[in-house]
Subunit: 355 residues, 2 copies
């Protein structure tokens, strides 16, 4: 099977880590029978400055018609609002209907306080519909934004969260070391204040997750109000397996969870739609370390693996995860965000060697 993969480095360290993602895919053992074609694509702040658009139509159409998946690096935002500029990744998620943002947050197994959770973030609506207006009043400007929650999007995000919980359970059943006893999905919302919008998310997610295929497989459901979820995330992170949340809460929770494992540089994500996935490291463009060659490539390598999982190449994904974990378990070649002194290149080589 040949997979066509779009490569969208974007800005900042995106340009330093996306090539690492390409290299690990190319280095996968031939025995897996996987080949890759790569297509370089543009998006981001630099692209905006060159072309006047942050997400060129060509990028969208090539992804739609020619690609099986993609790797997206990061984009810089201008420091003040710039007319016509808006985040290309937010737009891509909507244009390609990549309705789920999946963010596994996991320590190595031997960590003193092991954590192993996945945050499943709705990726198309909530405040990210970006419908905003501003009016002038005698007391000054008043701006409003729409938070939109639909039954349809809530149901499908909860369903994929349930599926991920089942898949994780199957991997555990196959003997993988684990801190969890059974599959658990925690629904996060703020329905004590937003009874209609978050109330709809809550009720719909509950309904989807009580479907027989989840209930029969023992998937447990729990709820947490978002503020209390953040509190619990830090007090007892080991208690969580799969967390499902509307877009904005998911954005916040996944950065919070990343803090628990020591560095955003470790945390991958995948933007998942029907038969398509974009891997995306969670760390952003990191202008402070850009060009120094010290960005942690692990979030991108894991994002490449996560993309492969959602393209049904779980064996190939497992190889990458294992090579990354071996590097981390040994702990000798680590990038500066993890307290080490290794360069991006050294970390990549160490991981390729373990593949």
């Amino acid at each position: 099977r040949t997979l066509k993969i779009g490569l969208i480095p974007g800005d900042g360290i995106g340009k330093e880590v996306i090539p690492a993602g390409r290299r690990i895919l190319e280095a996968l053992p031939a025995s897996l029978g996987l080949k890759f074609d790569f297509i370089d694509l543009k998006a981001g702040w630099e692209t905006f400055q060159e072309q006047g658009v942050a997400l060129p139509e060509e990028t969208v159409s090539v992804l739609k018609s020619d690609c099986d998946g993609a790797l997206f690096g990061a984009v810089s935002s201008p420091t003040t609002a710039v007319k016509g500029y808006s985040s290309p990744i937010v737009a891509l998620r909507k244009r390609l209907d990549l309705y789920a943002n999946v963010r596994p947050v996991k320590t190595v197994v031997s960590a003193p306080k092991p954590i192993d959770m996945v945050i499943v973030r709705e990726n198309t609506e909530d405040l990210y519909v970006k419908e905003e207006t501003t009016r002038d009043t005698p007391q000054g400007k008043v701006a409003e934004a729409i938070k939109r929650i639909s039954q349809r999007a809530s149901s499908r995000i909860a369903t994929i969260a349930g599926e991920i919980a089942l898949r994780r359970q199957n991997i555990r059943a196959a003997g993988a070391p684990s801190i969890h006893k059974g599959p658990l999905v925690t629904i996060t919302h703020k329905s004590n204040v937003l009874s209609q919008t978050d109330g709809l998310f809550r009720v719909t997610a509950r309904e989807a997750l009580t479907a027989p295929r989840f209930a029969d497989a023992g998937v447990k459901i729990e709820e947490q109000i978002v503020d209390s979820m953040v509190y619990k995330l830090f007090r007892q992170p080991e208690a969580y397996d799969v967390i499902v949340a509307p877009n904005l809460y998911g954005d916040i929770l996944s950065d919070g969870a990343a803090a628990l494992v020591g560095s955003l540089g470790l945390v991958p994500s995948a933007n998942v739609g029907e038969g398509f996935a974009i891997g995306e490291p969670c760390h952003g463009s990191a202008p402070d370390i850009q060009g120094k060659g010290i960005a942690n490539p692990i979030a991108t390598l894991r994002s490449a693996a996560l993309m492969l999982e959602f393209l049904n190449e779980e064996q190939a994904a497992a190889k990458i995860y294992a090579a990354v974990d071996a590097n981390l378990e040994e702990g000798k070649l680590l990038s500066p965000d993890l307290g080490g002194t290794a360069t991006t290149e050294e970390v990549v080589q160490d991981i390729l060697r373990r593949l």
Copy 2:
């Protein structure tokens, strides 16, 4: 001076901690020249079940016309949406125009990783305007909520945040031990996605905080996108002094910050308006420990002190803070949330003794 204080225990452990708040006010040394009149008031889920309203008009009117301040315990929310019920504290904040929610999060000075920050949360708008609608579509229900951000509310919340930063700086200048070098206000928003609403908050807050009285006193301004703020909160909490945020982010950040000091049972808040303040522990009604007599009274005692601060009784407030800190520094009589075995009553007595 006689202060009239409304007491609104609400539900759950609210009934166990608010009496402690009353007792510490009554126990303040006579030399301070402060007297208190207390007025018992109702609100909450039990009140709703008795009277059909969660916030009786009488409670609002007595607070408005007879009181200088109040202590609010906690309210339980029904587990599923109940027609006509909505959170009385959210309503009170709006009805009394208590525009700032101030939440100091602080370890004892001798903590291995000392933290000393205040989260200043806008308290009247954002998604808390609770303007929601739901419609049926061929794809199912779609619900929308309004997020409203005004220049007026953003300006006054940033201004009070600046004032709090100055006040903290003055206390440090007077010789209090501190982990901070100078006053810093961190503006939190998500203007990379919400360019109009959060963009307005950001620009307005910046403007308010660059006023000469802040700039001349050396108040520094920093910005953090809310997801990255949560990340930083956990990675380098010692870096933050005053954090100012729109309502919902402030709600989430203050619970997150509470996790850093070990227990929500330690964290006070004050809902502050012009010449009026309601002290409110951050912990909620905690049905799991209700009636056991083991609720931590410290959040309420500190909330009483915080209320006094905003009623310009800083000396009295300082006495309460010192008594609480002495109890915590000694660490002998601690409630179970802090790993101790003391009852609410034992903790209260220990603190009263130190007053």
